[in-house]
Symmetry: C2
Subunit: 203 residues, 2 copies
């Protein structure tokens, strides 16, 4: 089936598809990064997901059951493979175990969206930033207390993925800096006390 | 496979499963109504979906890839069939076309969650209530202007499914009543001008 995959290159900040016009298939990202987002009539936006190399998206459109309200935009120049819905549906009939692979991808996506809904509806700004740092912190050496977060995309995209304005995201980071809990250095955030962040998140 | 389905009855307001302890399989609702919800540490809740007879839920747990943050609660006494994950996975190997059926269910769920995310992040309280009325209004006679919305669940559950407090939901309904656009009669909402609601929603 992979010989039927069509290579696609999308320049920085261009859109692969808009909300409304459903993607022609499932996309696999080879290099770059793709923002999946939703946009209101007012122009206000929210980032649902940032896809990194190795990631896939567009599974929900296989059956074209309804129009998805998402767009896909390249944050940097991105190389992808597109496997058309037609190829996938034919492939599933020929190799039915393929359906299981896509089903597993779809189930993972459902759980990810439910987690996103939880954040969006039930966590306040402070908790969202804490959660983000705790989830992405890599431990420094063998420490269970110190960690480091590498921002793979711009701060405004991170903010949007937490459904925060860039200003609110900055304010929360400043507040944590002022408490001596973190230090922001360009795309790196040093976390000095993961335990304390964890306790603050529960409270 | 259906002979392996286990009948389950859940009394009114009892929970079929809690967030964290993932459901043992896929559930199909025969009678009653089931609220799928998320709950914060603080106790604050949000209704994700209300499942009505004929509907299914629990698909995302088939592979147990991650814990879903949802609970399932019977709003009235409910009769269900539970098909265990094990039965489904064995069934898929025997009748691979079954995976396609579940894949289609999962894709529909993804699109539904994306639509919910859109509402939750990008529509204000007034727009959410308008959207709800427009989506659920049954036309009265041949009219394109008048419609009627039957509330199948309590107003507080509808409010929660729109991520609104019951108070905000009531306030929005009162405001529409005051404008002469709707009239609320117990579980029925008469909509007198669907066109005007539509125009207000875009603005």
């Amino acid at each position: 089936m992979l010989q039927d995959a069509r290579p696609v290159t999308v320049p920085r900040l261009e859109r692969l598809f808009e909300a409304g016009n459903l993607p022609a298939g499932v996309f696999c990202l080879k290099a770059g990064s793709i923002r999946i987002g939703i946009v209101a009539d007012s122009g206000h936006e929210r980032t649902i997901d940032v896809v990194l190399p190795g990631g896939t998206f567009g599974e929900a459109s296989i059956f074209k059951s309804s129009e998805a309200p998402v767009y896909a935009q390249a944050l940097i120049q991105s190389d992808l493979l597109c496997i058309s819905n037609e190829t996938i549906l034919t492939g599933i009939q020929q190799w039915p175990e393929m359906a299981t692979v896509f089903l597993e991808l779809a189930c993972t996506r459902i759980n990810q969206l439910l987690a996103g809904m939880y954040v969006c509806c039930l966590r306040n700004a402070h908790q969202r930033v804490n959660d983000f740092l705790l989830k992405n912190a890599q431990p420094v050496g063998g420490s269970r207390i110190q960690g480091i977060v590498s921002l793979l995309v711009s701060k405004s995209v991170v903010a949007s993925s937490l459904n925060l304005t860039p200003e609110t995201f900055s304010r929360e980071l400043h507040s944590l800096s002022d408490q001596g809990l973190i230090k922001v250095e360009r795309a790196l955030i040093h976390v000095y006390d993961l335990e304390k962040l964890r306790r603050q998140g529960i409270a």
